[in-house]
Symmetry: C2
Subunit: 254 residues, 2 copies
DNA sequence: ATTATATCGTGTATTTTTTACACGGTGAAG
DNA sequence: CTTCACCGTGTAAAAAATACACGATATAAT
């Protein structure tokens, strides 16, 4: 017999009052049996209107009435952690080929009010445009990351950790491109970095930096619908990046 | 009722044949109930003889006969993940005030032969000297990290991930000091970095780099028992490090 | 058509950081 | 009293990061 109970967020799209009761019963049983549940929570970032956004859903638990919650679910018995995260992502965004990476496990004893649940946080970056079709479905919402007050469970802490992880990560690895269209102008790229890192950067030096890596490919196309001189559109060359030999020693810097 | 079953490694020091049977029974039951177990595994690093070592134990499972295993245990229902890791560390090394950090969760379906167990890997750095008293107990062994062949479970993979994590981490954060005595010479520190990162560094520039951070404190003492001119002994000033404001933007570098 | 405006794209001088490298000093061992 | 191995410091050259300016080109307003 395979237990199937809800996680921090509603896994079924057909959430109803009758469902709720069932959920609570199962959670209670888990709790009384002293079994630790294991879930996966996805911090799905998007970039829109020059701001970093995160995809959230209204919590279904009374205790967290109207609070925002990350997208998550219990891990099934037959699936890896990564698979579980991909499943959630697919269910919620319809997107398949996305950037996804594990960030950290969270297992404080009281983090879930109904039972002991350890969750593994994943971070995902998607192009918000690709996802727009599906957003109307339910209680899903893109929310600014900078102006978030309370959230359900320990999801605020998880989001904070993931946001800091992202800030560090985009400076060392080429993930930012996942938030942009395949083709992008250099200004769009810089806006992305400035928004995520909350810094102002010099346009010319930013340009120099990226071109010196030799990983941006000129598509020959130009921006359109801009009220000024259009910039060239580039795409990131992942192949070249893979083949590139990375220097091992990068120095000590506390 | 609180389930208590063994993890990837024997939690009890009194491991015996009778115990083994009990373990298997419980694992089988878990497996048939479709419950996912959750454990913590500690990658405990030490530094000795100018080499990075890891603390391992002989696996108790027949399938992994004589293979090396990390130190781990199932997470108890009433303890946080971090607490579980600390508990294992304390049980095995007798050490308390140690560096410990979560690295990654591993949850491949078939990673444990007896049941589905998701494990959270922790990385710990200890001074190998402090631990020598307790090593005689059982099957514990300090093993070179560079010359390790097969290991039990997916522990080789976990170790690899943690080793790479360490290589990156010691360049950005002051953790290396946990592997050294409180007081150390600059050469010892450099040997540590060279061993862990597998690079040769210029002695003078290494010195310059560290002193320019202003975090090394001259103890006034000198090395002893060296067959040459003794070097000064320093200690790391953690207080100063905490107070130090770190620059946010450190540039893009793929 | 002409002008205003906003961004594009490039180059250069300055500062800072990293790297490479040399020499005199001190303690132990023979 | 010489050899050896490492300690401790300084400096010149190379590389990287930063600051900053100007002409070009598109749209929109006049």
């Amino acid at each position: 017999m395979s237990l199937k109970i809800p996680s921090d967020t509603v896994p079924e799209t057909t959430g109803s009052a009758g469902m709720q009761k069932n959920i609570k019963t199962i959670l209670k049983q888990l709790e009384s049996d002293g079994i630790i549940g294991i879930s996966v929570d996805c911090v799905i970032f998007g970039f829109d209107d020059n701001e970093l956004k995160v995809l959230l859903i209204k919590s279904d638990l009374e205790k967290f009435d109207n609070k925002w919650s990350l997208l998550g679910d219990l891990v099934n018995n037959h699936e890896d952690l990564d698979q579980a995260a991909y499943r959630i992502l697919k269910e919620r965004t319809g997107l398949d080929d996305v950037y996804l990476e594990q960030v950290k496990g969270f297992g404080a004893v009281g983090r879930h009010p109904a039972a002991r649940v350890v969750t593994i946080a994943y971070c995902s970056l998607i192009n918000i445009e690709h996802h727009k079709l599906k957003i109307l479905d339910n209680e899903l919402h893109w929310h600014r990351v900078t102006t978030l007050s309370e959230m359900a469970f320990d999801h605020r802490q998880i989001l904070d950790v993931c946001y800091e992880w992202l800030q560090k990560r985009i400076q060392e690895h080429p993930l930012g491109f996942s938030l942009l269209p395949k083709q992008f102008s250099l200004r769009e790229l810089q806006n992305l970095y400035e928004a995520i890192l909350d810094v102002k950067l010099d346009r010319r030096n930013f340009r120099k930096k990226f071109f010196s890596m030799g990983l941006l490919e000129d598509t020959g196309e130009l921006e359109s619908d801009v009220p000024h001189r259009p910039g060239k559109l580039y795409k990131f060359n992942y192949d070249k990046y893979q083949k590139k030999e990375r220097k091992k020693w990068f120095g000590i810097d506390f």
